[in-house]
Symmetry: C2
Subunit: 218 residues, 2 copies
């Protein structure tokens, strides 16, 4: 099993052993749903491989992607009765799942772990505030550039630093994350490629002019 990144870094060995006992390794095929918005929250998940799309739907079908979970990310940590969003696999995904009961018991018993989870939650909240700025006040080009730099940074923190940013999600997913349409995303990618800011490669994008991109993200 992939060592649980991010949440477990500060645990003692016995705590880690306990955690691994409770962890149920599971995997999902491309497109599978881990859980749906409003469903009873049985499980908490730690992603160990692959990418998960997190999203909310409006009754008329409008969709907002609230995030993409990468290895190390924690899902369903809002200790509530029902999931606040839906999650499904983009490509094959591996997770460690914990039953809600085991999770809450463990959290009650181990302040270390709770503290780590709280840090994780506040970090998520900070990212959410940045996403609000992006959604409310940035232009289409800025949105896309911020998204690319953000993904690059996240992959880098996972030990995969590269000028080529993998983008396993569809254009529609990106559009729904950035509050745009698929056409605007596509056109903006094309424009950035034409002016040699990026190079579009299969499965992702190569950053060609990081200076310009960082200046736009400001």
């Amino acid at each position: 099993m992939v060592r649980l990144v991010s949440v477990c870094a500060s645990l003692t060995d016995d705590e880690l052993a306990l955690l691994e006992q409770l962890a149920m390794p599971t995997h999902f095929a491309s497109g599978d749903t881990l859980f749906s918005q409003g469903a009873d929250a049985h499980c908490v998940y730690n992603v160990t491989g692959g990418v998960v799309r997190l999203y909310k739907l409006l009754s008329d079908g409008r969709r907002q992607v609230v995030g993409f979970a990468l290895p190390g990310d924690f899902l369903g940590l809002a200790m509530r009765d029902a999931y606040g969003f839906s999650a499904d696999a983009i490509g094959d995904v591996a997770v460690c799942s914990f039953s809600r009961g085991a999770y809450t018991a463990l959290v009650d018993a181990k302040p270390h772990l709770l503290k780590r989870l709280h840090e994780f939650a506040t970090h998520e909240l900070t990212l959410a505030h940045e996403q609000m700025m992006l959604l409310g006040r940035r232009t289409a080009e800025e949105k896309l550039i911020c998204f690319l730099l953000g993904m690059q940074q996240r992959w880098a923190r996972l030990g995969k630093p590269s000028v080529t940013v993998p983008l396993p999600m569809t254009r529609q997913d990106i559009a729904d994350f950035l509050g745009l349409t698929i056409e605007t995303v596509s056109r903006t990618f094309t424009r950035l490629a034409k002016e040699k800011t990026i190079l579009i490669v299969p499965g992702g994008v190569r950053v060609m002019n990081p200076e310009r991109m960082l200046a736009v993200a400001a």
Copy 2:
């Protein structure tokens, strides 16, 4: 002193006494800045009276209001070195402030409190996800109606249920919260008033047709 709502509900008496020893009651006049984005995070605040505007700025002056803090709300709980947003008083504001050192020491010592804070943070995260949906996918009219219903609900939970929703913030603040311009906010208010969905009163809005509003918020 107003009893600390929301965070301290589950504390034992001795814990509460300890907390009150550490709490420094402070107040701010209208327009005063509690703290600025990027500044060293000395203090954590619990709002006890008034309303606080929380916002982020882009270098060119574009502003995104990430929230309005009401009595009971906690500010600066992201245990980090620097504040992630700025906060200033809308009208007179009373808070209990805690030094960062005292706060972290207390949190380390009292798992109860940490658990409450974590619940608070995850609730904030859920609200942030809803705000992303609103910013990314809703129309101007929907944004305004959701905002009004949300504020009404928050005042109600604080023991002030009323069909008249107080709006102490300016139109510009509302616009910057909803990702709109002040003109669009004003026009949309006027339109809703003309069709008798709301009645605009000094300092706020009276909800006249909650059924229609709830249907739009869906």
